[in-house]
Symmetry: C2
Subunit: 127 residues, 2 copies
């Protein structure tokens, strides 16, 4: 914890930065897949459909930097790198799971809404 006084503006910027990170879909998916157990890099790469190796590396590094997961490199040949949620990362899980479940439950409705919107709205340039 920081003992320095801070402005509301500064606090707000920091919440925004954290939301930008944890709200990222790849972060949500990585944290979700680590719910039950430690996974290796390759296992995560297969589990998170559609993520590139480079994006997975960046996502994992950001989550490690924020203290949401641990990275353990084993000195084997070939090298093995394990990722696991920290207690802080585990506290994030409940919110993440709730968001993913919301997306899954309301998916058909949202897809329908998009079709209806596109059929009735011409492109516009004003707010």
């Amino acid at each position: 914890m920081t003992a320095e006084p801070e402005s509301d503006e500064q606090a707000c910027r920091q919440v925004l930065q954290i939301l930008a990170l944890i709200g990222d879909k790849w972060s949500i998916l990585v944290v979700g897949h680590l719910r039950d157990r430690t996974l290796r890099f390759g296992e995560l790469h297969r589990a998170v459909t559609g993520i590139s190796q480079r994006m997975l590396t960046l996502t994992l590094r950001q989550l490690e930097r924020d203290g949401l997961l641990t990275r353990t490199a084993h000195p084997t040949v070939p090298p093995r790198v394990d990722y696991a949620l920290t207690p802080l990362g585990t506290t994030l899980l409940d919110s993440v799971v709730a968001l993913a479940e919301w997306a899954n439950i309301h998916r058909p409705t949202i897809i329908d809404n998009r079709c209806r919107y596109d059929a009735t709205h011409p492109p516009r340039t004003q707010a």
Copy 2:
């Protein structure tokens, strides 16, 4: 609701797309600000610190397209445009609020973790 059969792959892509949208920090902030009442475009622009007019327009249009909010244009001079959450948008609120509260509560810890990480980790290129 769609009656067509769909593959797991297709369902997974759609959940990803929805997460990418609702996980966006601007969407989270806009939905959060509409929690209590209808807001005009200008009120939202002032409330959501740091968002550009263009990004707010795009965010509102996506949320409207997904059926999460309604846009009501009043034929006044100057034109007035109101935005309000739909019932579907309101169901999203609980998850969104939980995520924002998590970010706010753990902000100091995450800032400290970042400082500690940056002090001990040289840049690396491998996963």
